[in-house]
Amino acid sequence: MMGADIRPIAVRRRWIARLADDRNFLGLVFMLPAAAILLVFLAYPLGLGFWLGLTDTPIGAPGHFVGLANFVSLAHDSVFWLAVFNTTFYTVVASILKFALGLYLALLLNRRLPFKSLLRAIVLLPFVVPTVLSAIAFWWIYDPQFSIVSWALIKFGLLHQYIDFLGQPWHARWAVIAANVWRGIPFVAITLLAGLQTISPSLYEAATLDGASSWQRFYYITLPVLSPIIAVVMTFSVLLTFTDFQLIYAITRGGPINATHLMATLSFERAITGGHLGEGAAIADAMVPFLLAAIMFSYFGLQRRRWQHGSQD
């Protein structure tokens, strides 16, 4: 009887031991927590968002499947198309400015400067300050009656009346872009600075000995070596700018006359303020193709790295 009892246990132990030695099984087990987190906190909300976009769900009550009705309705909504334009314009202009100014700042900080660490810390400040705080600061800076900018310009005799920063559609668009650029430059600058520091000085020394000008050194060494990092940084920058909400909500609430409404703020306004979750979700869903395009940009940008290292693709 004893032998009959022991054998299955031994068999079982061997089976567990085999599993414990199985790399595939262990890999699966170790990935489970991460997969669960991704499933619960990423895939489920995303799936729910897509589903809501296909329903007429209001706040606090169940909705019904309406197919593409929300999208058809949005296609005839002038405010939605204005928000698409605003978002695209905001993203393109702000991203270009952030890249240009961020790269310039990174190149400056990469030089031998006194108080280098302190300067780098100061550069990071706009990124460290909570968005809403900086948005409120800009709201005061742009105030039609109390703007410090207008006040200073009037004191210097350069203006006779206050600038209506947020009361004119195009003024407001440029004003919120300026706020976004101010806030976003440090992220670009510091990340590119990290990339710059990985470039071997010997490359520059060799180029200098060959008679390369500073522009040629930048164009033929700095830019190509930095391009994979630029691709990643700009992808994140574009994604963050495209989905911006806080700055706009705190400074303009989408005004004047919806001139600064981004897709994210419009989605919030329709879903939460207006109570139409389905339509708000549909607007958020409509952002996805643009975001996918940004990710593709990153993907192909990263591919260039292989090309740089001699690959043919």
Binding site: D77, D164, R270, G274
Partner: protein, 438 residues
């Protein structure tokens, strides 16, 4: 009572209201409250609108503390900007968790009425005891025959004006009709201290004056059957009138939010705006002589009467509701009853210098409303107000149209010349029809 139009009373479904308003105070005192005792170890969380007057909030908290001392129910009071309360209330309704009581605004409770605690017995008790709810309070509190919310009053919006500038503009009394009002605004601009009315996405101030202007000309978003009728000659007339008003305003109103006009008025930059009593209270209680001088030189008036011949004001209604998910429904009802009783209301209204206009007539005899005549116009605003979504019903569509600032955008488009008045009205109709589908 005579100030409330017959149409309003009939629309609110309220023969009973009329009866309630006419009841004598003696008879009203007989009302008895028979709500259950608060649950043992009850603890409730209140999320309310953020104060514009600190003393108002302090007295509210003091009342809550008094309730805790008397009943043992713990009460936590949080305050948020009223624009931020709406999303939190919506999320609470959707997920079934959050504050026990929300003190928000306007028709928000109608967006998730099925999730709310029935407060019919409490509202009827308060109505019976305090002279019957004003018709508009019933409109904002009742869904069918059930009370889903308790109106707390309104952050009464009145015209705040500088007496000296009005006189400089050639007026001894504040005009009560549309032509006179326009002439005043033109005179204020000529006098160098113009009017300023928010025309950005300012929930209280912008909605307040544009809806008044629309309704004063006979225009409205929807008819009695919720058909969109905003694209009408009356609306175009309202927009033409508003365009003339806008030409007299200070620069920058297109970006103003709810606090911008307070700042501009107190900075002596404008002489006329639409606001609650907060400007006056801040100026009066300030240690700065310059602000005291502004308080002495300012007064308040109700909005002028338009072509319809009756008041057409839109007020920011403060509406209180609780969710069915609360673990302590008896404690919630008891707390609300306590806070709505006149002893607490008088203490609170006095501290806040009449910031909230009463929804119940019996609250009107607080001396705060008459001790300073400049406060009196705020007392009666709920007698004159029309509900949002007038003359249709409150619900998802009316809330969405307000939330999407359809009316404000229409006025902004027309006033700035971005669209012709006719085109702005057409665009507003298209936007509104997306919500009023059936």
């Amino acid at each position: 009572m005579s100030d409330v139009t017959r149409r309003q009373i009939l629309k609110s479904g309220a023969i009973a209201v009329g009866a309630g308003l006419l009841q004598s105070r003696t008879a009203l005192a007989d009302a008895t409250w028979s709500g259950g005792a608060p649950e043992p170890n009850a603890s409730i969380r209140v999320l309310r609108w953020k104060q514009f007057i600190q003393a108002e909030f302090d007295s509210f908290v003091a009342n809550s503390k008094k309730f805790s001392e008397q009943t043992g129910v713990k009460v936590r009071v949080d305050a948020e900007n009223w624009d931020d309360i709406r999303p939190k209330a919506a999320v609470a309704a959707n997920v079934g968790a959050g504050p026990d009581i929300i003190m928000g605004t306007n028709d928000d409770p109608f967006k998730f009425s099925e999730k709310l605690l029935d407060v019919t017995d409490l509202a009827e008790y308060l109505g019976a005891k305090y002279g019957g709810w004003y018709p508009i309070a019933r409109t904002y509190g009742m869904l069918g025959k059930k009370w889903i919310a308790l109106p707390q009053g309104a952050t009464g919006g009145c015209l705040n004006y500088r007496i000296s500038t009005m006189r400089a503009a050639g007026f001894e009394e504040f005009p009560r009709d549309l032509p006179g009002y326009l002439k005043l605004c033109q005179g204020l601009k000529a006098a160098g201290k113009p009017a300023g009315f928010a025309l950005g996405h300012a929930t209280g101030d912008a909605n307040g004056w544009v809806h008044w202007c629309l309704w004063a000309h006979g225009g409205k978003m929807v008819d009695d059957n919720n058909n969109v009728v905003i694209d009408s000659p009356e609306t175009v007339a309202a927009l033409e009138y508003a365009k003339q008003l806008y030409a007299t305003y200070i620069d920058g109103v297109l970006s103003w939010n709810d606090s911008s006009n307070n700042k501009a008025f107190l900075a002596d930059q404008i002489s006329l705006t639409f606001n609650g009593i907060s400007i006056y209270t801040v100026a009066k209680n300030s240690p700065e002589p310059a602000l005291n001088a502004i308080a002495a030189d300012m007064d308040h008036a109700n909005m002028p009467i338009g072509l319809s011949g009756h008041p057409t004001e839109q007020q920011n209604i403060l509406n209180t509701y609780s969710y069915a998910y609360t673990k302590y429904p008896n404690a919630v009802r008891e707390y609300l009853r306590f806070m709505w009783e006149k002893a607490q209301v008088d203490f609170w209204e006095t501290a806040s210098n009449g910031y909230v206009a009463p929804p119940l007539p019996a609250w009107n005899d607080n001396p705060i409303w008459t001790a300073d005549p400049k406060t009196t116009p705020f007392r009666d605003v709920l007698k004159y107000a029309l509900p949002v979504g007038y003359s249709g019903t409150l619900g998802q569509a009316s809330a969405a149209v307000m939330g999407d600032f359809v009316c404000v955008d229409m006025f902004a488009e027309a006033c700035t010349g971005d669209q012709t008045p006719k085109a702005a009205a057409q665009r507003a109709a298209e936007r509104a029809k997306r919500y009023y589908k059936s």
